[in-house]
Symmetry: C2
Subunit: 184 residues, 2 copies
């Protein structure tokens, strides 16, 4: 009967740890991400966490990496025909997968609060995205405004800032969709 290994899920504790970190960040705020708290949430000990991520920076960095991966994957699902598909993809990502995106933003907050350098990979990624979008569209300023508005949507939701009430949010989204479509 060989037995199970340790308790329940033997391998790959890393994703569980990252998930725990996201949970904590979403529930109690980015500042509450502590190794012990993450360990408890993930169902293992502090040592276990530090085995997988030798330092807290590594943990945060890994968190952001995972978020970026998820984000990339989402963008990949957008039909490629679309000229400004990354732009459209960004918007749809923000809309569809609220959880994933909130987590991403939370990871950004946590990273920015502890060590701004952790944002470097994000910057690189965004740099590529923006460049691609701008070369694919002729009305660069309109495209950039769309990008900025999408970012605004992110932080607005993340910080629970007021949305204007009513169906304004939906109308804004619809408007953004048409703007993006018109960008061709």
């Amino acid at each position: 009967m060989t037995m199970q290994k340790h308790s329940a899920e033997p391998r790959n504790a890393a994703p569980r740890i990252l998930g725990a970190a996201r949970t904590i960040a979403a529930r109690e705020g980015a500042g509450k991400i502590t190794i012990e708290a993450v360990a408890k949430e993930a169902g293992l000990s502090k040592g276990g966490v530090l085995y997988n991520f030798p330092t807290k920076k590594a943990l945060l960095s890994g968190l952001l990496d995972q978020m970026l991966d998820a984000h990339r994957e989402h963008l990949g699902k957008v039909p490629e025909r679309h000229p400004s598909r990354t732009l459209r993809g960004h918007l749809e990502t923000v809309l569809q997968s609220q959880e994933v995106d909130d987590d991403l933003s939370m990871a950004i907050l946590a990273a920015a609060a502890s060590d701004p350098r952790l944002l470097d990979p994000l910057r690189a990624e965004m740099s590529g995205d923006i460049e691609r979008i701008l070369t694919d569209t002729q009305d660069n300023s309109a495209a950039m405004i769309a990008i900025l508005a999408i970012q605004g949507l992110r932080f607005q939701r993340l910080l629970k800032l007021p949305e204007g009430g009513g169906n304004i949010r939906d109308r804004v989204i619809e408007r953004l969709r048409t703007i993006i479509d018109e960008l061709e």
Copy 2:
């Protein structure tokens, strides 16, 4: 004029303390705001800081308050005739006073990271602003997009995210100005 007290600036250490906090946040990240560090930066001792702000929450809260005040003051300078003057004011504030606005964003970050509830005053303020803007304009979705884009500009600069290079930023701003003007 009697005399100075101890070292240099006798009264009203509070603004100096808040300024120190802003400096630290801008220089080392929002997470590095610590009472001792603030004290050192402000040129007084920990006790001095804690006399003016009995708790760290009070400090962060005061920081955000000051930022909101400064922001309000800026908005007040915008010609009142303008129908969407708050919207225009927001944009101009972001543009003109880079320091003040970056500090505001940093305070937001710091507050959000430590205790999300500290953002409540900000939420209230923004709620009023948005409501006013939306009632003053008939194209609500366009106005909201402008608001979101302006917020996007804030965080973009705060987190040093890529801007798209070239003069795109300027063109975006010009475009936003015209959009806002057309909203009337």
